[in-house]
Symmetry: D2
């Protein structure tokens, strides 16, 4: 079927490629004419010079998929809305806050424009693996877009079906799911990313414990302001972290796609020399914790993983200075320099 794509970054462009390669007709637009031009060389893809131009190339009802940074979704909708009509469909497939979806849906509903929010996971691998999609919107519109979702999704592929789950139960095993009304798609995606933070931190902390399993060899260097290691002989292991991540890939309880990627990275750069350890966080981790707090549901693991990222960027510095200042004030403890 026909779909317009606004925003041709890494995600948007690859999604168009996957759609076009499977017979869908794509009309594309981006603020960068170069990005449009490049993609328009693909069979089945039509470029456009402006949003109006793009809209004029679509048959009604028009389906427009936004794949733009969360920060410009508002502005993009504002620009599109005057040109849209009842029955047209706006899809926000980016990393938007589900609370904005609820607002956007309410806004465009006044003109009987349909709104669909799609949380899209897959990153740079989606073109090849397919995109896992979590969808919010009305039954009618989500069903209407089914051909699009089916193509973008991974499908069952080589992954075993879940034993006990009826085959006719729906699309989830194809890699996309209609999660509920507007906002539900990005809500589920938000929590997905919250879990992702937690899993990443679980691996990172565990591998950190393995990395330091040789501290007993350096125990003599520790001074009076730090607890001496009582049993240095218990920490004499020089662990081969890349090979440990490799061995866990088969048969262990912690096997996962994230582990596969980690093993791949460590195989090529065992010391992670390219990275400084300042970890960014996008919105979903923060939003997950805010939702958990609103709900009154404890999420200590997910929150700890978010805070580790804050700390990695030096955001605890003032608090840490305060701790040193207090130690000095009550005990005369001087801070060690390194």
């Amino acid at each position: 079927m026909q779909l317009a794509m606004v925003g041709l970054g890494r995600m948007g462009a690859n999604m168009v490629r996957r759609l076009a390669a499977n017979g869908h007709e794509c009309v594309v637009f981006d603020m960068s004419p170069k990005a449009v031009e490049d993609l328009a060389k693909t069979d089945g893809v039509t470029g456009s010079t402006s949003m109006e131009d793009m809209l004029s190339k679509l048959s009604k009802p028009r389906a427009i998929w936004l794949m733009v940074p969360a920060g410009v979704v508002d502005k993009t909708i504002e620009q599109l809305e005057p040109h849209l009509e009842a029955g047209d469909i706006l899809i926000d497939g980016g990393n938007s806050y589900y609370i904005d979806d609820i607002r956007h849906a309410k806004r465009v509903a006044e003109k009987k424009i349909e709104f669909v929010d799609v949380g899209t996971s897959g990153g740079v691998w989606g073109l090849e693996r397919g995109y896992c999609m979590m969808i919010g919107g009305s039954d009618k519109t989500v069903e209407y877009l089914d051909p699009i979702f089916k193509t973008l999704a991974p499908g069952i592929g080589t992954i075993d079906r879940t034993p006990g789950r009826p085959e006719n139960k729906g699309t989830a095993e194809l890699g996309y799911l209609h999660c509920g009304p507007n906002g539900a798609g990005h809500f589920v995606k938000m929590v997905h990313n919250g879990i992702e933070y937690g899993m990443m931190a679980a691996y990172a902390e565990g591998l950190g414990v393995l990395k330091a399993a040789n501290v007993g060899k350096h125990a003599g260097e520790i001074d009076a302001e730090t607890t001496p290691l009582r049993d240095p002989e218990h920490y004499m292991f020089d662990m081969d972290i890349p090979e440990i991540t490799e061995v866990w890939r088969r048969g262990s309880v912690v096997a996962s796609w994230l582990l596969d990627l980690t093993a791949g990275t460590l195989a090529q750069d065992p010391e992670l020399s390219k990275f400084g350890g300042r970890v960014s966080d996008s919105g979903e981790g923060r939003w997950t914790i805010k939702a958990a707090i609103d709900e009154g549901v404890p999420t200590p693991v997910l929150t700890a993983s978010l805070y580790s990222r804050f700390s990695s960027r030096g955001e605890a510095e003032y608090s840490n200075k305060l701790l040193s200042a207090m130690r000095y004030a009550f005990g005369g403890h001087l801070e060690k320099k390194s």
Copy 2:
């Protein structure tokens, strides 16, 4: 090759089956004659009536694999040791503390008996999937036992090789790894389980946030001692948790074997009606945190996942009473009954 197995529980018996099915000769013993008898019906498996009987059926150097509860390893080694000779090999494949391995290895080394510690992951699925093994011991002995490890391990199977990793780099991609000297095997397994705790908690917390995504529907019931939900309209989602775990299995960043199992469980028992929510913990989670503390490495996520289990069993009750008592003391706040 020939191997003796002591301890024919779920793990030990299945490992024998996998070995025997692949041409190894197994001599088995268990405190329960019935367990021995049952397993001895398998081709390639010889039962024995006592440890001495078992030892007498082995050619030297004898290799004896212990698959007994961590609490009886000491006693079992004490019973075996007098009957062993220089060159014989003792393998502890259970869930032992790596610090005990170091002690055991030192002890039997006095008689030139070899000791090997093997952390074994795979649970009830190992017979079919193979066991992921993390091994500690001397190069010579671990190499000698290679045929055993190769058979127990999953092998490469259908899982893609790690891109960039040389093919001749070693056994890790077959699912077993010689991690270092004695203790290294169980150290790596310990951390594996620590990570497992963290991953499990990441999923459980995230799904908990999804489960409560409909609290806005019940907002009116909340009373004065609890913060009212400011925006109930943001929490009106009745999420289908089983289908959400299913959709994440393909193409998402959080895909994993644990997620596969979770989806399978929820497909059959969406309300988890069989479980009360009192979560046990075996030693590895605790030991991982103790190691992290000795090393001075922060593990907030792994620790939070351990504490959630403690709390699930009511172990925070006294602390919680104290909190209520303080609130009453300074603010006259009365505890809500439910």
Copy 3:
């Protein structure tokens, strides 16, 4: 000076008593005529039968202090506003969210009504000890109300002045502080309560560790699904928690007013028999974490203390069931019943 008080609960009524006892003229109103009647017996206190009646008894500019639940501040301001004039002063002294202050201030500023937000700490002890007040608003209005704040505040009392702090530096050492523009008062109060949560949890957890210092005496009861205690002889202490809190009150680093109260409570009810351990949370703890997340500042301790309260109320139950379900799925582990 003259002040109207709306809301004669525990806090509001006691504040009026403290003001009236020190020569201020108070006009009071509450939804409960009984509460008004009771308090109006106090010298210097005038009751009123409605908000209009109350306003009519005030000379201009009128200063009205709201001491009502956070949930009814909006409604109360709506009722008052039509009767107020330029120059009148609205003070919200309750437990409001500072974000609401910003909104309220903006709203009433349209009619040139002044708004002041006051975070008030002191609980049931304020009448006697005085109230610690954190104030947001314009310089002019906060200065105008200074006589009120000075009376409500504790004053220097018997607590030593901070060495090195100039005597003429401002009111902070009297127990009240103009923290900044509107919202600043409740922002500081919010964080005050966040810290309070953390301190309370620090005591509660520590005392919990002391309470369980005799687990070695019961070590035999532990079964296979739980890690056995390796060194029961290290946990043979029956600690006298009430006396331990008492001894820390003098000369220790952890001495505090909260500890004084805790010791007082434990002296009278060592087993805390009146409490079930379901700990409520009011909004400030949650809001503190949300602010920290917006700021990107890690607050692991404050967050953990909030989550402990959630868990104490059973809010982790679904997550815990999931953990048990996963353990069963991969390892066949059955949940222990108690």
Copy 4:
């Protein structure tokens, strides 16, 4: 009464001064002859040139108080033991691990030497304020040493007695307590310090949130890899942290001695310019968590406060690099440089 003091550092020397000033007879020794010489100028203090010399100056039964670093207690006891006799008393008043006390007590008991462990809080303020002491040992010996404890302790002083606590209940309100058999003293001190960590972190985190309350003013600087602040207008406060700590000292729920010290430090160095934010930890925090884990008691707040210190020293760096590496692997996210 007579007491020998071994170790004349900040703590030991001040304790001798307090004892001598109150009529006790002190015989002192330190590895540094200068330290002995200086202190011996004090009335009531006798220096000694060796441990033997010191012992020879004592009447039997001899009471020797060790105030040496935890790391040299073992060696010191080894040196003293051959010269001691049945009935002599060894007191370890340092920061020892209670598990070492149990071992030391057992060892010297073979010669009928009495052992007493004393956890001592008070830091550099103890000379003036008195020392809070938590004591482990036999009833007989602890009672025998009562005059020493009574002098070192703060006494009731100006702090109100706990309402409802019988006056004749024991020494706790004087600032010292016989907590139980050997090890109990340092166990209670260990937990005291664990609580101290938690309280310090609660203040430090809360003040950190206040410090960053102006992030809305810098919101424009935030880039694509970081979540934009949704409501910058909510974070426009330049908080006066020194004055905020001052105002909380009177009438608030978070008043404490630690807060007094913090206010004092901030009054003189508002920007904490002397500190880099690398926070040391002595053993007690770590030991508290290990005890909690052995007991199965959750201590999320105390643990988080320990981990913050680890992280402040860069101990999470490897884990953080792993997180960045994973983000790059699945999403192509590049790490921001600052």
